[in-house]
Amino acid sequence: MTLKNKVAIVGADETDEIGFVPNMTPIMMHAQAARNALRDAGIAKSEVDGVFTCGVGPMASTQLCEYLGIIPKYTDSTQIGGSSFVVHVEHAAAAIAAGICNVALITHGETGASGRLRRGPRGMGGMFDASMPSAQFEMPFGVGGPPGVYSMCAMRHMHQYGTTSEHLAEIAVATRKWAQLNPRAFMRDPLTIDDVLSSRYVAYPFHIYDCCLVTDAGGAIVVVGADRAREMKKKPVWVLGSGEASTHQSILGMPDITQTPARYSGKAAFEMAGVTHKDIDVVEVYDSFTYTALVTLEELGFCEKGEGGPFVSGQRTAPGGDFPMNTNGGGLSYTHPGMYGMFILIEAVRQLRGECGERQVKDAKLALVNGTGGMLSATGTLILGTD
């Protein structure tokens, strides 16, 4: 049995506002995004019988079901950072294909920007149990947040493969060009490679423009089975291939610091979909940092290992380039509330439906989505397509 063509994404939308939204809490964003995605699908909330979410407490799906007034047949609170919502699609596909639920709702909402102003615990608070390995063997050395860790991974890649700061800057600049075509993008000012290289370091080798934004945003996705999908008013976006993998939690557990689990999740997704890299029209990969996108392209097999730098050179991933990537402006310039995976999914759906206006990739029929969570720890890959 395969999940290929068993389900389709039939609803996808974001909160009304994204960016800096101090009048909303995370769970408010989940609900508003859910309303908008269900409206996009033309499906009533009362039909939702599967709920997939994380980021609203330790029992996220239960919390959200209570809040939305849903008595689910199937829930899943899988929390693997920014890749969560991408793997939720695969989990939803499995649940629907097995007949356990019919209408799956996947929700996200975070206030990475304005949440700092709020009282009480915030962010990843509570994840740091003092007895956990990271509390003993990383935090005492001033290692904690993603910039501090991804920078070390990038450094080894640069040493081993000759990747340069210019290569990383190519991605920041190309992604900004996409953002300039997207009125909802947070950062739309022109950006040059020199701007990136002359900006201050956050964590050498990362300049500030190598790092994603910190914003408020929510999003939601609705997934249904094949028969139901064909009745929808909008073009169904079929799940043709999927895969997920994790290789470690913290950098100390990385089998190879220059690799990511996308080599496994990507391979699984390509095998299920039965397509090749050349067939993909548009690529949406998590760009928590420029390096994340670069190494992910290698791990997914779009180029040889270590060739990510040359591969993205010459603004190849920018509008007009032959490898359109992160077409909403990415986590680098569009929005990045903390766990960004929901937004690469939504953008892939919009591209495949032809809803992207100025930034529309012409005749986009096949999209690849790759979410990355944690410290390059976990990935989910989806290959999505339209008829």
């Binding site: 063997f137 935090m139 005492p140 290692v143 070390m152 964590a203 050498y204 100390l252």
Partner: protein, 138 residues
């Protein structure tokens, strides 16, 4: 009132206590799998490769190479004053461990991957000594 932010201090757990006891003696003592004939890190009661629970504690040389690093210009944890160098050291005995590279100006032109390093002990309090690393004396 201002409170001095303290660096996070590790709380040893039952399976890691021998490592931290070693640090206190200024000895880099790591778990060793007698089936794999190999060190591993971080400490567990079992070998993460073969799942053998026959573990010994053996002393390492405290020498290795700088596998990778970054210069942190923003404190990633309380109590750290940037810029500081976070480092993954590859011990000559095999395992990699997180540390800080000290004894060198934290400037991009000074530090490079695979440079030789050696342990430098930092006594934090009566219970805890941290294994930091410095460029090896040539």
């Amino acid at each position: 009132m201002t409170t001095e932010m303290q660096k996070p201090i590790p709380y040893p757990s039952p399976e890691t206590q021998p490592f931290w006891d070693g640090c206190k003696r200024h000895e880099l003592t790591l778990p060793y799998c007698t089936k794999c004939d190999a060190f591993f890190f971080y400490p567990r009661q079992f070998c993460p490769t073969c799942f053998s629970w026959d573990i010994e504690w053996r002393q390492c040389s405290g020498k290795g190479t700088l596998h990778t690093f970054a210069i942190q210009y923003r404190p990633q944890m309380p109590g750290f004053t940037p810029p500081y160098i976070t480092a993954v050291v590859q011990l000559d005995e095999g395992p990699r461990m997180m540390t800080n590279l000290v004894g060198i100006e934290p400037m991009p032109e000074n530090v490079y991957c695979d440079m030789r390093v050696e342990v430098q002990w930092e006594d934090v309090n009566d219970e805890i000594t941290l294994p930091l690393f410095k460029p090896a004396a040539s």
